[in-house]
């Protein structure tokens, strides 16, 4: 009440009209608002940060597990192909005995094919000799062509060339 008196005295000097106005609230409020008012206190939040740390750790573990499975699977499957090429199996082959099983015709045809592929072999039967023969024949035929004919040929195809 002391405050109220001070306030009224103060207002008399600065704004006396305000002392004549009721201070009771005039705005409307829903009926029974104050009687039924209650505060909704939220439950304490869960330790979110810790949960996130666990999840992060689990994420890394899952990624490592998947990577491990992929690498292991890769080794297993590629290893099978390597093992299929069994060197021991080939070391056990008795080459002379296997050779004896082949006929003379089979051996001759194998040797002929191998000679053609390697570029060596019997006279008159290799590809390189056939090519050399063809070049020699062409060179010999060119010596029979006159210089004028050659000059004319070159001038027609590459411009003027003096052979002398």
């Amino acid at each position: 009440m002391n405050n109220r008196n001070n306030i009224n005295e103060e207002l008399k000097t600065i704004a006396p009209l305000l002392n004549d106005i009721s201070r009771q609230p005039v705005q409307s409020v829903p009926e029974g608002y104050f009687e039924h008012f209650s505060v909704q206190i939220p439950e304490t939040a869960a330790p979110v940060v810790k949960m996130l740390q666990v999840r992060k750790w689990m994420g890394y573990a899952a990624a490592a597990l998947v990577a491990g499975i992929l690498v292991t699977a890769g080794f297993i499957f590629t290893d099978k192909d390597v093992q299929r090429f069994n060197y021991e199996q080939y070391s056990r082959i008795d080459v002379p005995a296997e050779m004896n099983k082949l006929s003379d015709d089979e051996l001759q045809s194998y040797l002929a094919a191998a000679t053609v592929l390697s570029g060596a072999g019997h006279a008159g039967s290799t590809a390189s000799e056939e090519i050399n023969d063809a070049i020699t024949q062409e060179t010999a035929s060119l010596t029979q062509v006159s210089d004028e004919s050659l000059e004319q040929f070159f001038s027609e195809h590459t411009g003027s060339i003096n052979l002398k």
Binding site: R4, I7, L18, D20, R23, V26, P30, S38
Partner: protein
């Protein structure tokens, strides 16, 4: 129950909820009207009052009894109201000047509004004041606080508060005379 007893009961687990209920019952109406004078819409005032009491629930354990509970509660309610007003201003829908008009319109939209009554003219006049002056005027005129109490709520010197209150009272009287 005295404020000191309420605070002591709140700090004991067994009586915490009962003490809080008593505190809400004791101060809900005063705080509601303090907020409502700053935010004319009931829904806004209700939201801010809820937030105020949630802050009180979370902070009362660490409340230092070297200040009065009453002024501490007003301080929280004031800060919550000002934060709410700031949020409203930041919303792109209305700018600062339009917000003042919106608040004045919500006063006129009240079902009890009567333009001829001085009490409503007073409400419209208060709405024209800057936020700080509005706060100072309301705390002194309606809540009948001393300048010292207001100073502990608003962190402003008593001299500045007195000057602000006098300016506000003169402006309000002028507005009422002219409308």
């Amino acid at each position: 129950m005295e404020d000191v007893e309420i605070v002591a009961a709140f700090k004991k687990a067994a009586t915490k909820e009962k003490a809080f209920t008593l505190l809400v019952k004791k101060y809900q109406e005063k705080l509601y009207w303090h907020i409502r004078r700053l935010l004319p819409a009931h829904e806004d005032a209700n939201d801010v009052l809820q937030n105020t009491f949630i802050k009180v629930w979370n902070g009362l354990d660490s409340f230092r009894e070297d200040s009065r509970l009453y002024t501490w509660l007003y301080r929280i309610a004031t800060n919550e109201s000002l934060s709410f007003i700031e949020q409203q201003k930041r919303k792109a829908v209305v700018d600062f000047d339009q917000l003042g008009d919106t608040y004045s319109n919500s006063i006129r939209a009240d079902e009890n509004f009567d333009a001829n009554r001085l009490e409503w003219k007073l409400q419209l006049a208060i709405r024209q004041l800057p936020d700080k002056q509005k706060l100072v005027f309301n705390l002194r005129y309606f809540d009948e606080m001393s300048y010292d109490e207001m100073s502990s709520i608003l962190d402003t010197s008593t001299g500045a508060l007195k000057a602000s209150y006098h300016h506000a009272a003169k402006k309000i009287e002028e507005f009422i005379k002219n409308h």
